[in-house]
C-alpha cells in the first residue's frame, strides 16, 4: 500500500476515481455503456470524446514541459489549423469529395509542422525563453487565423471531414482512436527508444546534456514540432466536430487546460521526468470535472470557480512543501520514525 502511495500516478488516479465515484453516486447509470446503432454510448465515452483534443494537446505539452519549456501557442495553432482546412474545403471546387478532405487534413498538419518549426527555431536556435517565444505565436496566431477565414465563421459540409471529430469506427468515436494512436506512438517512441531519456536529460540540465554530446537543439526542435502537430490535429477534431472554423473561439484557453492536465498528471513544470499516462489521467480529471458539475446540478456558471478550487487543491497536494507539512503533522505523534521522502 505504501509503495503504491509513493507512485507518482497515485494522487491523480485517486482524484479521478473519486470524481467518477461521485458521479456514479449521483447518477447510477453513469458508468454504464450501451450499444446503439452499432455505436458505443455512455458518459465515459462522452468524457473521452470531449476530452480528446485536450488530451492530444496535453501529450505534446508534456514533452515540451519535460525539456523545461512551455508552449502557449497551441490554442492559436488549433485556430489556424481549423481555419486553414475549412477555408481550403470551402474554396475547393468539390467541397464534398474525400480527396478534398484528405488535402484539408494534410494542409492542417503541414501548418502545424511549420508553426512547430517556427517555435522550435525561436527557442533552440535564437535562444528565446520558451514562454515568450510561444507568446508571439499565441498573440499573432488568432490574428492569422482570422486573416485566413476573413473574420467569418467558415462552415463546411464534407462528411469525410466531419467524421474526424464526429464519426465512429469499430463502435468507438474516431477522435478517441486518433488520440489513443498518438498516445501509443508517443509512448513507444519515447519509452522504447532513447528519445525519452534525452528529452528528460535536456530538461534536467541543458548545459550538462549538451556537454555530454547531446544535440539538445534537435531534441527541442522535435518536441515543439510534435506539440504543434498535436495541436493541429486537435484543431481538425474541433473544427470537424462542429463542421466550422471559428478563428476567435476554437481552442480558446485550451493551452491552459493542457498545461493543467500535465501538472495535475504529475509532471513538474521545472522540467525533467515526465509521465504521459499521468497527463492523460490529468486531462480526464479536467474533463470529468466539467461533467461532474452538470451531474451534481451545480449551475454551469460555477464551473470555473469549481475548477479553480480543484486546481489549487491538486497543486497544493503535489507541492513538496505542502507534503512535508502534512508529513510532519502525521509524524508528530510518534517521533523517531524516519520516513523516506517520496517524490
Amino acid at each position: 500500500m505504501k509503495s503504491l502511495m509513493k507512485n507518482r500516478l497515485a494522487w491523480p488516479v485517486i482524484a479521478l476515481a473519486a470524481l467518477l465515484l461521485l458521479n456514479q453516486i449521483f447518477r447510477p447509470d453513469f458508468l454504464s455503456l450501451r450499444m446503439q446503432d452499432g455505436h458505443l454510448y455512455g458518459s465515459i465515452i462522452d468524457i473521452m470524446r470531449n476530452g480528446a483534443p485536450t488530451i492530444l494537446i496535453a501529450l505534446g505539452m508534456t514533452l515540451v514541459i519535460a525539456t523545461r519549456g512551455i508552449d502557449l501557442s497551441v490554442g492559436a495553432v488549433v485556430a489556424i489549423a481549423g481555419a486553414a482546412s475549412c477555408a481550403y474545403i470551402a474554396a475547393s471546387p468539390e467541397p464534398a469529395s474525400p480527396v478534398t478532405a484528405a488535402m484539408a487534413v494534410l494542409i492542417a498538419v503541414m501548418a502545424g509542422l511549420f508553426l512547430g518549426l517556427w517555435n522550435g527555431f525561436l527557442v533552440s536556435t535564437v535562444g528565446v525563453q520558451p514562454i515568450i517565444a510561444t507568446l508571439v505565436l499565441m498573440t499573432a496566431g488568432r490574428g492569422i487565423a482570422q486573416l485566413i477565414t476573413g473574420g467569418q465563421i467558415v462552415s463546411v459540409s464534407n462528411d469525410h471531414y466531419k467524421s474526424i471529430g464526429a464519426g465512429y469506427l469499430f463502435t468507438l468515436p474516431i477522435s478517441i482512436l486518433i488520440t489513443a494512436a498518438v498516445f501509443v506512438l508517443a509512448a513507444v517512441l519515447t519509452r522504447r527508444t532513447a528519445l525519452g531519456t534525452l528529452v528528460e536529460a535536456v530538461g534536467i540540465n541543458p548545459v550538462a546534456s549538451r556537454l555530454a554530446g547531446l544535440r539538445s537543439r534537435n531534441i527541442i526542435w522535435i518536441v515543439y514540432v510534435f506539440s504543434a502537430v498535436c495541436a493541429a490535429i486537435a484543431g481538425l477534431m474541433i473544427s470537424s466536430n462542429v463542421t466550422a472554423a471559428d478563428a476567435n473561439n476554437a481552442g480558446l484557453y485550451i493551452e491552459m487546460d493542457a498545461i493543467l492536465a500535465v501538472v495535475i498528471g504529475g509532471t513538474s513544470l521545472a522540467g525533467g521526468r515526465y509521465t504521459l499516462a499521468g497527463t492523460v489521467i490529468g486531462a480526464f480529471i479536467i474533463q470529468t470535472l466539467t461533467t461532474t458539475v452538470y451531474t451534481l446540478g451545480i449551475p454551469p456558471e460555477v464551473t470555473l470557480v469549481f475548477k479553480a478550487l480543484v486546481v489549487i487543491t491538486v497543486c497544493l497536494l503535489q507541492a513538496p512543501k505542502a507534503r512535508n507539512l502534512l508529513r510532519s503533522l502525521k509524524a508528530a505523534p510518534k517521533p523517531g520514525t524516519k520516513e523516506k521522502v517520496a517524490i
Binding site: 523545461r68 512551455i70 525561436l122 527557442v123 533552440s124 536556435t125 535564437v126 535562444g127 528565446v128 525563453q129 514562454i131 515568450i132 517565444a133 507568446l135 508571439v136 505565436l137 499565441m138 498573440t139 499573432a140 496566431g141 488568432r142 490574428g143 492569422i144 482570422q146 486573416l147 473574420g151 535536456v202 541543458p206 548545459v207 549538451r210 539538445s216 527541442i220 478563428a247 491552459m256 498545461i259 493543467l260 501538472v263 513544470l269 521545472a270 456558471e301 460555477v302 464551473t303 470555473l304 470557480v305 469549481f306 475548477k307 479553480a308 478550487l309 486546481v311 489549487i312 497543486c315 497544493l316 507541492a319 513538496p320 512543501k321 505542502a322
Partner: protein, 338 residues
Amino acid sequence: MSSLSTLTPLTVKEPTPLRNRMRGGARYAPTLATLGLFIAMFAVGAGMYPSFLSGQVFLNLFIDNTFLIVLAVGMTFVILTGGIDLSVGAVVALSMMVSATLLQQGWNPATVIFLVLVIGGGLGLLMGLIIQYFDIQPFIVTLAGMFLARGLCYVISLDSIPVTEGFFTSVAQAQIPLSGDLFVSPGVLLALAIVAAAFFILHHTRFGRTVYAIGGNEHSAMLMGLPVTRTKVLVYALSGLCSAVAGVLFSFYSLSGYSLAAQGMELDAIAAVVIGGTLLTGGTGYVLGSVVGVLVLGIVQTFIAYDGTLSSWWTKIVIGGLLLVFILLQRLFARRTA
C-alpha cells in the same frame, strides 16, 4: 560567467542580470528603441493622415488606455521579480462586475471602490502567499486565480450590467481641459499618478531595489539579507491592486460590467511590458518603458482605425510581430554587451 551564458541559449535563468553587464546607456537601449519606434510611428501617421498630427490624437492614446497603463505598471513589478501574473484581465472583469452590481443596488460609490480595491489586492495577496509559501509556479497559481476571478464574474451575472450611478457617469463624461481644445479624462491623471508612484517606489525605495535584486538573482538577494519573501508576496498583491484600479478605470470608460470583458487583456499587458524593454527573466526594465509599450499598442490600434481598410485582426498580428522584433533585439543586446 558571461562566456558560459553565451554558450547556453537554453538556460531559463540568466546567470547574471543583464543590467549589470550593460554599461552606461546600453541598459536603456531597449526602452529607447521603443520610444524611437513610437515617435517614428507617430511621424509616419502624421505623414499619411494630416489629422493624425494633433495633440488630441496623442492624448486619446492615454484616454483609451488608462486601464492598460495601470495593468502594465503592476505587471512590470511582477515581471521584474521574474514572475508572471495571468490573472489581471479576469480581476479587471471581476472588479467591473462587483462595482456594477453593487452600484445597481444603490451602494455608495466610495464604499464600492474601496471594496473593489480590497478584493483585488486580497486576491493578489492570496496568490502571492501560495506562490511563496507552497513554492508553486506563479504561472499555475495565477492561472487558477484567473479561473477563480472569471468564474466569480459568471456567478455574479452572465449578462452585461449597465452603470447609471451619478458619480461614475459624471467621471466618465468629465473632461479636464488643457491648453486650447485639448482635454484629458480624470482617469488619465489617476493613471499617470500611479505611474509616478511606481517610478518612485521602484527607483527610490528599498522595496523597489529588492524587486530588482530578486529578478537579478533571487538567491543572492536572499543571502544579502533582503526581505525576499515579503517582497515577492507584496508584488503580487500590488499587481492585484493595480488590476482592481484598472477595473474601476475600465468601469469609468465603459460604464458597464460584463463577465466576458477584458478577455486576453493579460496578454496585452505582458506584451506592453515586453515591448517596453523589460526582460521576462526579471531584473531589467523600467516602468516608464511599459507606459511607452502601452502607447505603442495604442498607436497600432489608432493606425488601423485611421486606415479604415485594414481589419481588426491586423492589430493582433502587428502586436505579435512587434513582440518578436523586441525579443530579438533584446537577445542581440544581451549578446553584444556580454
